[in-house]
């Protein structure tokens, strides 16, 4: 796979969610909040994820004390009009970018948060 290649719809994507102080976590359900799936300014409107098939949960989570790990299918992102492109980094061959977020569309982060499932490491 080369940088920029489209991810197959049936592949799973992993998203780390910051867990310190539970700022991005619904304490009652364990579900991430929509803000955990909102693109960061530094990422120019894209969302960083890892391609599950190229990593392991332990590797993807980096620090189990600071993050939780959630997964969803690339198909879900495509169905929202987003694109999933392989974007390997020097220190992370699984790195993938979800692009195509419309800054005026506030629904997408909430939808991704609601369809994602936690990857349990224990």
């Amino acid at each position: 796979m080369n940088k920029g290649d489209a991810i197959r719809p049936d592949e799973f994507l992993l998203r780390r969610v910051f867990r310190v102080d539970r700022r991005f976590i619904d304490l009652k359900t364990g579900r991430p909040t929509s803000r955990a799936f909102a693109p960061r300014p530094k990422d120019n409107g894209s969302l960083s994820v890892d391609l599950k098939i190229l990593t392991t949960p332990i590797k993807a989570i980096i620090d189990i004390e600071r993050f939780r790990l959630f997964e969803f299918m690339a198909h879900s992102a495509y169905s929202l009009g987003l694109e999933c492109k392989y974007d390997p980094l020097d220190d992370n061959v699984a790195h993938t970018l979800i692009t195509g977020f419309d800054p005026e569309d506030e629904s997408v982060p909430g939808i991704l948060a609601r369809i994602s499932k936690e990857v349990l490491l224990r």
Partner: protein, 161 residues
């Protein structure tokens, strides 16, 4: 629609009802927590304990520095915090408890309301606010939020249809 808020005010007027006295007890507890919290004094008879603590939580987002999520999140906007706090005070007048709040990576604050499968996310940015509705089927509707919409949105949240 406006009757929702009016009902709340009428409901609070009768003194010594069990609900009213409960609220006073909660307020007394809040007051004893810290005298430095001016908001507790200003809203002694109004804010529920739950919403009061959610306001404290939102105010605490002001201490988050740039990159607070280690993913490059921006510092939470003081204007967004002020707007979210004002919104929670308004929501409290409907006798509704905020379900959760969350700081956002773009300086925003999200305030979420929930009633069974119906959820509303209010997202406060420095210069605008948006709302997103979710029901049992998933995403339902979104738009730019203005205070005049609140009655309609609360009605939708509380409706079982």
């Amino acid at each position: 629609m406006q009757s929702l808020l009016r009902k709340k005010i009428e409901y609070q007027v009768p003194a010594y009802s069990s609900q009213t006295s409960l609220r006073f007890r909660q307020a007394e507890g809040i007051l004893s927590l810290s005298q430095s919290n001016a908001i507790a004094v200003g809203f002694l008879n109004v804010l529920s304990s739950s919403n009061y603590h959610e306001i404290l939580r939102v105010k605490s987002y002001a201490s988050l520095a740039d990159n607070w999520d280690s993913y490059g999140a921006e510092q939470v906007s003081s204007t967004a915090i002020e707007n979210a706090v004002a919104f929670i005070k308004r929501i409290d007048q409907y006798d509704i408890q905020v379900y959760l709040t969350s700081p956002g990576p773009n300086g925003e604050v999200m305030v979420q309301l929930k009633n069974d499968a119906r959820e509303i996310e209010f997202v406060f940015y420095p210069s605008k606010a948006k709302y997103v509705l979710f029901n049992a089927a998933g995403f339902f509707k979104q738009g730019v939020y203005a205070d005049v919409m609140l009655d309609d949105l609360i009605n939708w949240l509380l409706s079982n249809e």
